[in-house]
Every structure is written in C-alpha cells, then in structure tokens.
Symmetry: C2
Subunit: 200 residues, 2 copies
Amino acid sequence: MKIILVGATGTIGRTLFKNLSQRHDVVPVSHSKSDIKVDITSLASIEAMYKTVGPFDALVSVVGSAYFGSFEAMTEEDLYKGIRSKMMGQINLVMAGKKSIRDNGSFSLTSGILSEDPIRNGVALTMVNNAVNGFVLGASVELQRGVRINAVSPGLVEDSASALGAAFPGHIPVPMERVVMGYLKSIEGVETGKVIRIYG
Amino acid sequence: MKIILVGATGTIGRTLFKNLSQRHDVVPVSHSKSDIKVDITSLASIEAMYKTVGPFDALVSVVGSAYFGSFEAMTEEDLYKGIRSKMMGQINLVMAGKKSIRDNGSFSLTSGILSEDPIRNGVALTMVNNAVNGFVLGASVELQRGVRINAVSPGLVEDSASALGAAFPGHIPVPMERVVMGYLKSIEGVETGKVIRIYG
C-alpha cells in the first residue's frame, strides 16, 4: 500500500514510520522536517500535498494540537486554535483526500484518552478529541468505494510520560508498541467508524 | 431559581418555558422574538446578554444549527457554520456566563442523538454534537463554586417527526414531555459532566 503519514517526525509518527515501512510504501509528511510538507491548518496546503503525492491507499494522521492550560484564562481564540489544528486540520485531510484515495482505502485519525477521561487544563483537548471521534463516525456512513475511516485514541504514551505525566495524575502510560497496534488495526484491518482505544 | 432560557421560542424551548415558568423565574432569550435577544455566533452579543440579565442560577441552551446535507458537496465553510453556531455558540454561553452564574448554578446545553447514531447528510451534526458533549465533560471538572454542567442529547422529537422523520430512518420519535424531563434532571438535579440521553 501507498500510505501517507502526516506527522511522520513526531513521537508516534517516527515509530509508525519504521513499522509501516517494513511492509508498505510510506510517504512521510510533516510541517517542516520532511521532503513533503503540509500545514494542516490550511486547506490549500493540504490540497497541494495531495496533488504532490497523487493516488494513495491510506492516510494516517498523527498530528494536531490544541490549547492546554487554565480554564479561567482560556479565550475563544484559544479554543479555535485546537479547532483549526487537531480538529479541522485532521478533518480537512479527509475531506480533501477522499477524491484521490483508492478504492477500499482508509483514513486513520488521532484523538486521545482525554476524550473520555478529562484532566485539569484539558477541556480544549477533550472537546477536540470528541469532535474528531464524532466526525469519524459520521463520515464512516458517507465515504464511498469501500473507503474506511477510524480514530485511534491513545492514552498517555510511555515516551511522553516523563514530560507530560504530571499533568495526567493516575493515567497509566501506554507502551508505544501497543499504540502502533491501534493504527495497524485501522490501516490493515477491516473496521470503519470506530474509535480504537489504546489505554494503559 | 432565575433561569436564562436561550432558544425560548424554538420547538423544545416553548415547552420548556411553560414547564419551568411554573416553578422558576425564567428569562426567555432568543435570536429575534424575545425582549432579550442574542446572536450565539457572536461572543460580544452573548456578553451583552449576560450584562442585561445579571446574576442567574441556571442557563439552558436549546439553540444552535449545523450544516445538514450532501457529504460530497460539503465545504470547510459548511463545517464552520456548525462550529460557530451549535458548537462554539453554546460553549461561549458557558465561558462568558461562568462569571455571573451563582454558586451551585448549572449550565444545560443541547447535543443530540446524531452524536452516536449517524444518518446520511448528518456528519456536521455528529461532529458538533460530540464536541458539545466533550466540552461538557471537560468543563465539568473545571467549573468552580459548585457550578454544574450537562448536555441533554434528545432523539428525534415527536413534534419534529413529520418535518424531519424522512431523514432519520428507523429513529423512534421521542415525546416532548420526555425531552423536557432531561432538562429538568440537569437543571433541578445533582449531576454534572453527563450526557443525558433522551431517546425513543
């Protein structure tokens, strides 16, 4: 399969790239560190990326950010940062890619455990992750030609636990190899419209 | 209780107004048909509404729209219509209202059954409803002074079934009095961070 991996240089992306490259033709894409670049907050940039890559079998997105911080200080613009990035950035990857994806291809987006297990300072991510999960469900009944779509919802990944763990009290870190399995289920499996939960 | 009812002239809002007015001081608010008006797509309009109303005990929102139509023809702007209205409109009602709500007050937002039971043409609503449910969960752990927040997720209401039923194959219409009970549980009950499902 020809697989576009958006976020190929990130924490999950690097491991996914190594794994998928053993069996597939993986096209790494990132904001600035890959030959093919994309700014997911710009639909025009996403469309240009698809034009460069051409027809493909799978799109995997492991990108997107959202505001993380004080609820009291959070502004409307803070919420829109996540809407434009992790939410609509990933959704636009699907909307713009559904024309050039091959029959029986798949889209795999990333949400996260905060969708259902909230923490202090995390409301924007809880909102955005649920929006991504919702889009996946709604789009799964609309995509044509056997094209599938799923969201992988990882817990706090072990590789990020030393940096982020203090913000996630009681969250059991998840080994990266388990997180990778979630994406493999979405890409190489048969399910659609699912939130694939990979929690500790 | 002094209860602000945003969407007081809508299908659910009219019935809710009659019920709540029997026991509470209800302030009806709508886009154009009430003495106090609000455009929920404008944070400035929401802030002006709260300034007019002053301190209150409960905010009930039964407003907000989103794109409903062809997935193939849906544009980024179509998705943002729902983001600005049913999603961020309701979320801004909470963010702007959390300063003037009294201790132990409550916010009750509206999502809907499409959050988990998708239909053709409904992806924007499935996305937006999940975002609202997610915001409610995330905000419930942040709100101070005993303030609660819930989302009521109604199924296809009987009163709308003749107009909308054809778009909702197999959805069993819900009597309006059952939908009203969902809002009463949120307003007069004790729960927070919940999606109160009222399905047929």
